[in-house]
């Protein structure tokens, strides 16, 4: 196929094991599929597309080489309806949050269509136009004013097929809720952005927190937006929340800079609030009896086993030892320890009991 043999077709998947000092999670997102919308035909109509499918249709490297041809019969669609907020901001059937990117890409899609099919009609149904961002609102205004895209504020209750057309039934809430019916050739649903499949499993594997929708959680919404609560793991892009490319790139640059900072130092800095296992002189060495209940309770695998050996090398005792670089100071181990051998700096038993004594 390739005249210069630049592609190796005999290459196979392989599992690679690496020791790394940092991980940047950037597993992205997925979109709701059209078959999740019963009122829009349950995915049964080939000319009801989701945004990603339209993206391929409009792409010069896509299946039609960028020509506007609808999937069912390859005809050029004369009327196209775009539905923003398909599943977003919909507590009852979809997701409650705003998917953030759809307002902008819907304007882009409508424009792309109009640039390819000059005489075609493009309609956009929307709830609100959320075009916050540098030059974003100007972009939407261009779609409306220069490319003559018709924006209708209202939701679409139903789409069905009739005489080779897709009948789109909605309402125009800026005209007092007047019913609107458009006979379209193609419909594009801007379906809700969702967390990538397998995000929950990945988060649990890496001990990263995630929100109820399985987007990864940042360490602090304002002050630590690219860090996770697990040291050495950072976030970039739509795996954390719906976001567009400029924001993804900004965040990814931030994450990369954080990793570079981490690697540029010879020693790690950490919060002083970490757990410590007490040490006393032999023959006991510590109250720790080596049951390692703390080890199974620790969400960060920060507890290691330390062997205490005599001068002749005989094993005297195996104790828990906190890796202060990994410990985040939650104190779950403290509550688990039977012999009170482990305590947490800053929230020690002594300190907390002293507080209780003043009650």
């Amino acid at each position: 196929m390739c005249p210069t043999k630049a592609i190796r077709f005999d290459q196979e998947d392989e599992l690679v094991t690496l020791d790394v000092g940092a991980i940047v999670l950037s597993t992205g997102f997925k979109v709701m599929r059209t078959d999740q919308f019963p009122e829009y035909g349950y995915g049964a109509y080939p000319d009801v597309l989701d945004g990603l499918q339209f993206e391929r249709l409009a792409s010069a490297s896509g299946p039609t080489l960028g020509a506007m041809r609808r999937p069912s019969d390859g005809k050029e669609p004369e009327t196209v309806v775009f539905l923003a907020c398909s599943g977003s901001r919909d507590r009852s059937k979809g997701v409650p949050y705003c998917s953030k990117i759809c307002c902008m890409y819907t304007a882009k899609h409508a424009m792309l269509y109009k640039h390819k099919v000059h005489h075609g009609k493009a309609y956009v149904f929307y709830m609100d136009i959320r075009s916050g961002g540098k030059d974003y609102d100007e972009f939407v205004r261009r779609a409306i004013e220069e490319d003559d895209v018709k924006y209708i504020r209202g939701r679409v209750s139903r789409i069905y097929q009739e005489d080779g057309k897709l009948v789109v039934k909605g309402a125009d809430t800026l005209q007092g809720g007047e019913p609107v019916e458009i006979r379209a050739d193609m419909v594009v649903l801007a379906t809700a952005v969702q967390a990538q499949d397998g995000s929950e499993e990945l988060a649990q594997k890496l001990h990263v927190s995630y929100d109820p929708y399985h987007f990864f959680a940042e360490s602090h919404p304002k002050l630590k937006p690219v860090e996770t609560n697990t040291a050495g793991i950072f976030l970039a892009g739509a795996c954390q929340a719906p976001r567009d490319i400029p924001e993804t790139v900004a965040q990814a640059s931030g994450a990369a800079a954080k990793v570079a900072c981490l690697f540029s130092r010879d020693e790690l800095t950490r919060e002083p609030q970490v757990a410590v296992v007490n040490r006393i002189p032999g023959p006991t060495f510590s109250y720790c009896v080596g049951c390692f209940l703390c080890q199974s309770a620790c969400p960060y695998q920060a507890i290691e086993q330390e062997e205490i050996r005599g001068r002749d090398g005989t094993l005297l005792k195996t104790l828990a030892k906190v890796n202060a670089g990994l410990c985040q100071g939650c104190g779950t181990c403290v509550a688990t320890c039977r012999t009170k051998a482990i305590d947490i700096q800053g929230f020690s038993n002594e300190q907390i009991f002293a507080e209780l004594m003043t009650l």
Binding site: G331, V334, T336, L356, L359
Partner: protein, 145 residues
């Protein structure tokens, strides 16, 4: 002057969710019962039984334990440890003769300022109805003196 009973409520809250939520209650100017004394911990996973027992011994009439909602724990799973322990503590406390109606286990997120006020009001009212908790304190002190 009336000697109306004002219950003492001790709240063990985690730093990241409930403490921040209680902070939000204040910055939102929401009023709530002033009977609660808040003890901040890194995580509800830090709470062991001795802390609850000590609070009662020091005169608490009621206790609130509140952390992050499931899945929201700053430390991934501390709130699950707390929940599992609470199942055991409750039986243990019951066995020891502690009135478990006086301990409320709850979740309040950093965004739920109003929920914190509601929780404190609910617990204060229910503990006020239960009356002062003298029995345990007397027992605990009997051993000391």
């Amino acid at each position: 002057m009336t000697d109306a009973f004002e219950p003492k409520i001790t709240a063990f809250v985690c730093n990241w969710c409930t403490y921040a939520g209680a902070d939000l209650t204040g910055t939102s100017r929401i009023k709530y019962q002033s009977n609660v004394r808040v003890l901040r911990l890194p995580c509800t996973g830090r709470i062991d039984f001795m802390l609850l027992a000590k609070a009662f011994a020091r005169g608490a009439d009621g206790i609130i334990v509140s952390g992050c909602h499931p899945n929201d724990c700053h430390y991934t799973s501390g709130n699950y440890h707390a929940r599992r322990r609470w199942m055991v503590y409750r039986d243990l406390m019951d066995f020891m003769g502690i009135d478990t109606r006086r301990v409320t286990f709850s979740w309040v997120s950093a965004a739920e300022g109003a929920r914190w006020a509601e929780l404190v009001n609910e617990v204060t009212t229910s503990v006020r109805n239960l009356g002062p908790y003298a029995e345990y304190k007397e027992l605990a002190l009997a051993g000391v003196e």
